[in-house]
Symmetry: D3
Subunit: 219 residues, 6 copies
């Protein structure tokens, strides 16, 4: 038997050790994510009473303030405008469930390869769905997920709108309508997809880092 | 002399007439832009007092209400959130001049080939700069414009962030800093570029049409 | 009422003024377009009688000599060959109207983001159609224009041929035939689209600048 | 205070409930991953003694047989050839640590958006590094990870080779050499990157599904 | 020894036979290339005396009339304009050698994957250079060829101009000048590259087929 | 008659001479291909008896040892693993003929613009098919070849899998099944396409050079 075949008898061990090569400890690739939230040095503002109350609510409900909010906290007006838009899009009544909106968030962020949004909203998909692999699939390739026709049509639209917005036309909207979406739903799909095309870019432009707690949520 | 060369004696006439082919009148390619603002049938809401006042101010200052605001007017909360974010980004104090912010708007919208935003913000660049060709250049290819180093660095960043946000890294921010931009300025460039990546997509998803008045402004 | 909402009461003013930031006069982004026609220093040739007559006809009919002709005027043979091809394609009898040929010119030039051709032929579309927004739409995103099926099929073919010529196959020709185009028309669509793929590149390679007069034509 | 601002007082709850919209149970997006390993109906072969021993070793060391091996098990020769190549590349002595090889595997698979390989090798990166976010970063955007210069040079090369192999030239190899890699190391980087460009495509072509156990490993 | 290793004892035979699978004769993939020159049915015109003389010269010097000329022969004016431009660009005096112009032709046609031009001008490169692999390299990937710095700079410019003309700027011209090219040479590089971007598209749009004789020339 | 038209009387001569510009002898663009097989300096190993026998068989049957095998010969285990996989994929019994497998090899290598594989496997297509233009067409643009529906479906799948593996879905497999391919055939198409996506990258990463003898084979 050749040496080569002998080798195939050894299944993949994952010890990280190669003979004579002691594993070097390495700093975490996400080191500092909870401390240095962006690459920009912007002095935090004194939070307005509204915003202070908002941060307190976050602490109470989530156990932490999402880093994106801290990143905006150098300017109360910008923070308030961002929070108002975010909350309207992701939490207000809509024909889209909250999970559907988070699925759009992650599929769009996957196209744009946005670390912050994939981590934070991937956790949301895992949590809202109770199906951790769904979060992975949205972040990796939504086309590989077992989805309903409705979900697939919604994500196809959102990702086409992300990748080649200039090609979106009436037939794309017609496909959504055939999938059971109302015109108001189409607005909401477009708005959520649009919003993450904005935040993905703000996050990438500033090297925004997600709270490390997200990594372990709802696995 | 050959027939071909003879033909070159006739300079390009632009009469639109070909022998035996009477020019057919055609409907405008922008027909209905002032009436059917999007492809979605969304019932206008009763404007809240805040929003009604805002529309009135638009009429007073601009002479019309921008169609994007009418498009959002099916829901006062969405309209207010959009307007608040827009006004903060484009009009609030910033190290970027209003013209610079509009230049970003158009260069980003050019990458995304967004009809609504190119028309509306192209007009703004013409108006703010008093240099109509600048509006054209932002819409066609900002690299062909005679720009200051600062303007060029700003637009290179905004368009890279639009096209391939996943490739933006510290070196890109460093180039902006070398170009004289502060960290706060970088935030503003990223935010304006991000915002138009959002609105370009909402506009494309809904086939949003610009007020026809923009076409003739500041030519 | 929060500060943020208060701000939304102020509609977008376009005065270009930010408090404490007096608008700096800036040179036009198209400065010198009428003087320095390309980035190459090529000594003008003595025009041949044929070409001198051609330039004179341009002055008489258009009021100016298009800069592209001046750019070629360093060599009479090259100028004559270019002019002969241009005039045959754009002005000779064809199943395509002159406007249709100019629409192809602009849609192709939009894909290639060619400043010279977008300005010069955008003006031609505005003029020939009597529909200024049509010129804008061809330059921005032809898919957003209200077009006839014939026009749309023609432009879809021309732009696919521009973007991914290796993918054009019998089915693409068949769609044109179904749209009412003859085989001769298909040749003409291909030739005009091909021609602007040539001139767009000559213009981009040499930083060719359009006559400034085009900007204001037929607005 | 406006209604809008009031809303920002409610931080993002992630209960999945929208008033009047009871959360519908949905099948897992990865349903059946452990049973239907590919979309191809290929009858498993009787394992050869070599391959049966190999599978037994996998069970013993890993607790399961990776689905990719089961996918190949319709043909002992193909299974043996695949396993021999895999084990040589990923486990044999090399100047690259096992972790480095797995990092290449995931960064390449991220470019190719391969569900199977991202799940299986993402788990390997988490396990070998003891740094779960490193696995996420390789799958999302390796450029956002805090890496050594060596790691970054290695991944830049592997991903360029994946995306645009025709552009790889001497300067790319020179950069690796400057980063401390020997010519043999360069071979290994190329071979591992090449291998995953193969398996990503076999997996995508056949809709190969990862063992569900990977999702929870080393979080 | 395993079955797998045994198999490696048999080197790659290229007999085309698989046990029990007699090689089926298949029609040539280029069948009809000499008869059906394009997919368009265009009636040949009576050649003008100039053009008849030109065709006769082709027969005399080349032994055949290139199919591209036959394709244009439905219209003497179009044929003459094409021939005049072609001959000026490829044959007139220039700082670029004829071989250099043909190298540009093939590298551009390779980017555009144009069957007609790769076959016809690949033959020209083989013939003019006396180096058949040079023809292959231009058609496959010019970056893999052993070229002079001058040739490489020329082809880098031509292919960038082909792929992304909107990105060509002063620095690109400066690199050519540093490589020893005059401004007139830059014009010629741009014009030849532009020309093949035209003809590649006319050929692809019409499924133009090369004379079969080219395949065997100068191998 | 103008000078320009006069020039068209001279058909394209291919003498390579321009007045006053004596043709400079240039080194072959493939100089050294038979000697310096890759850009990496890797010391050849002592061949194992198995591998020595394999090389001897190559010499006997082909008249030479393919350079890719020499490139791997620095390590017997790697060489054996590569050869085993290669031989299984390209030579073992399959529903795909050997020619079909070589057609996939070349179409994939064309997408990846891989010099080594295009030269070596282009020769194989010419030889196995007895149709030299088929080899050219696979290397240039398979869409321009006159192919059976079966061949076209096979190559469309292989090239889509190469270009955008993340988009391959059930409908793509269904099209192959409609084209007469079994699930086992689909596996083989995917495996061959995957394999060349690997070897294309190993070859490009190392600047692997083909044996010069391939250039003249079966022309």
């Amino acid at each position: 038997m050749t040496k080569q075949m002998a080798k195939t008898k050894h299944p993949p061990k994952r010890t990280g050790k190669t003979a004579g090569q002691p594993p070097k400890p390495r700093a975490s690739a996400a080191a500092g994510d909870d401390n240095t939230i962006t690459a920009l040095k912007l002095k935090p503002a004194q939070l307005s009473p509204d915003m202070a109350a908002y941060f307190a609510k976050c602490e109470e409900k989530l156990g932490f303030v999402p880093n994106v909010l801290k990143a905006y906290a150098f300017d109360n007006a910008k923070l308030a405008a961002f929070a108002a838009l975010y909350n309207d899009l992701m939490l207000a009544p809509s024909g889209l469930s909250k999970l559907e909106r988070e699925m759009i968030a992650v599929a769009v962020s996957s196209h744009n390869r946005c670390y912050y949004c994939l981590v934070a909203h991937g956790a949301a998909v895992r949590q809202l769905s109770g199906d951790p692999p769904l979060g992975e699939l949205m972040a990796m390739n939504f086309r590989a997920a077992r989805l309903s026709k409705r979900e697939r049509a919604m994500l196809d639209f959102a990702v086409k709108l992300t990748a080649e917005p200039w090609l979106v036309e009436e037939e794309d909207r017609a496909r959504l309508r055939r999938g059971g979406f109302s015109d108001r739903d189409i607005w909401d799909i477009a708005s959520v997809a649009g919003f993450f095309n904005m935040t993905n870019r703000v996050a990438s432009a500033t090297d925004m880092r997600p709270n490390s707690v997200y990594h372990r949520q709802a696995r």
